[in-house]
Symmetry: C2
Subunit: 343 residues, 2 copies
């Protein structure tokens, strides 16, 4: 079982790699090789040192020959240009999110057409495929049967790839799986260029004793999933068998990661309750109309039925999300007694 | 007003060109040039001889520089590989339906980015973006708000282009318009490779005194629009102003050509009634599972509200569709007295 993770040095990629190396098997079959592809080398020592790991550093399109030099069984395709990048640079998004995905799919198709295994392609799509419904429709939660009308180039590019993967799966070229990620929070480390990056920053930075700026109004609601929930969903959809029964998946129909709906105000209330006013007061508001317009175009209320059918549940509460973060990243907490008890 | 028609030598393209040359204006502005682009030269003499016409013969992608050598105001993008071709040859469909459309959109974007006019791009999409709903949902007519889940590569490719056009319109790169064509019948001339070609053949061939084979069961229902209704819809959506009022259109949201729902049995009953049993008996049934699988994946029952908002109506009856054909193509009717009265 040779598994490839693209975008392996990204945040979700690193967590997924860690989880795969911990389990050392996929659908009950031992992993023989885990190929970590990214433009930049893995920042963690652990995966690189593992005997299962093969590190491929460079542009995905340029390294496909190397990646497919030996048969590939599964690809987790996480490499992407993020939302704000794609809104700022249309061509970049088309190249990275559409053309590179097509090249990957073509390589997978060539493998099966030449007698190799059919590649299970797990594609990370996004909540950004949806435009937030018009005001009158807000009572209607969004599900996988909701008409996607993206309001961003990023969402459009993800949706385009979803359709190509569905068609190539229908034709038997690949065994495609599509997982639509919610806003993943709380992310450790430095902010990335995702428009939703502030959701992590307004929790992570104060917990580290640093100020943070919130670019949207406190009333804004978001659909959030913790890193743990997100990686669990990726693995669950990837390993699911085809079919209609519980825990099974139909073709390459998309699955939304189960979402927790929470407002910015609720997030900050949770921070205040858990970490105290001194910490919560490190967050100030400074509206950024660009960020607000992108993030406000994503729906926040979700019907999580399809995920539940696969055994997936949203995070229990935003408090649980924050506690998970604190438990996973004790090194990122300011040295205050109250914070050290959080995890 | 310089207008470009791609696929100008195709059936719908020729009708559209004839209509534009008849009116000689677009949205009230005189047409200064009508550029006819196609891989093959226009089969009709009339448009080529017209002083307004400029004929560009060759592969669209290769001729874009020539097409955009002078400012383009409107493009009717009709050039495409048809449904059965795309199902038989995946790469052909991706190249012709996706890559060539992207090249055209990029040329239009470059024009406006360099100070030229924003191109109004009228894209002919298709009913094939929809998969026929599951049996339980058949009572629910399909509209533009129905979730498209294509069951063919052709439908997937059209849907991908719809999303790219919507995003590029949102960004202001082009002024995109998307019209989803129904099965266009009755087509004159020889059958093309469209899976729905038989719908025209089972009327056209008997009317010409020739036998025809119907590859699907008589119970199969289809969503049909006559050539006249189809071209009228293209022009209406192309000329509509942006906005919410009657006759106006919102961004690049798709518009389905208003559809007449009719079964194959009803079509043949109409033929029998209008042209007599001798003519209708020229049709024999010989099931073709490939054609049936493609055509049966398209929905047949439509909610035509959005088209009606623009002032568009479906054909009044299948009898009207057949009479239109007979009136427009008297040369294609067998020399029987009854047929000559049809149109």
């Amino acid at each position: 079982m040779r598994i490839v993770v693209t975008g392996a040095s990204g945040f979700v990629g690193r967590l997924l790699v860690r989880e795969l190396l911990r389990g050392r098997s996929f659908s009950g079959v031992p992993i023989s090789r885990l190929v970590l592809v990214d433009r930049v080398a893995p920042p963690d020592e652990e995966p690189t040192a593992d005997a299962l790991a093969q590190v491929v550093t460079g542009d995905l399109v340029d390294r496909l020959a190397e990646v497919f030099a030996e048969p590939v069984d599964v690809v987790f395709h996480l490499a992407a240009a993020v939302s704000a990048e794609c809104e700022a640079d249309f061509d970049l998004g088309m190249r990275v999110n559409v053309d590179a995905t097509r090249a990957l799919l073509d390589a997978a198709r060539t493998q099966s057409a030449t007698g190799g295994p059919t590649v299970r392609v797990v594609f990370t799509s996004s909540i950004a495929v949806y435009g937030r419904p018009a005001a009158g429709d807000l009572s209607q939660p969004v599900s996988e049967t909701t008409l996607p009308t993206p309001r961003s180039s990023y969402g459009t590019q993800k949706l385009v790839c979803e359709h190509l993967i569905a068609d190539m799966s229908r034709r038997g070229y690949v065994d495609g799986r599509v997982v639509r990620l919610m806003t993943v929070a709380v992310r450790p480390g430095r902010p990335n260029a995702a428009a939703s990056g502030f959701v992590s920053a307004i929790i992570r930075e104060p917990l580290a004793g640093r100020p943070a700026v919130c670019p949207v109004a406190p009333e804004l609601t978001l659909a959030v999933a913790s890193p743990r929930t997100t990686v669990q969903a990726l693995l669950c959809v990837a390993e699911a068998g085809h079919g209609d029964g519980p825990g099974r998946i139909r073709g390459a129909t998309p699955v939304n990661v189960p979402a927790l709906t929470v407002s910015v105000a609720d997030m900050l209330d949770t921070l205040r309750r858990l970490a105290g006013p001194q910490t919560a007061d490190l967050v100030t508001f400074s509206p950024d109309p660009f960020v607000e317009s992108v993030v406000a175009s994503w729906p926040a209320d979700f019907d999580n039925t399809r995920g539940a059918h696969l055994g997936l549940r949203p995070d229990a509460s935003f408090e649980a999300v924050v506690r998970d973060y604190a438990a996973d990243h004790p090194e990122a907490l300011a040295d205050r007694p109250r914070l050290r008890q959080l995890g």
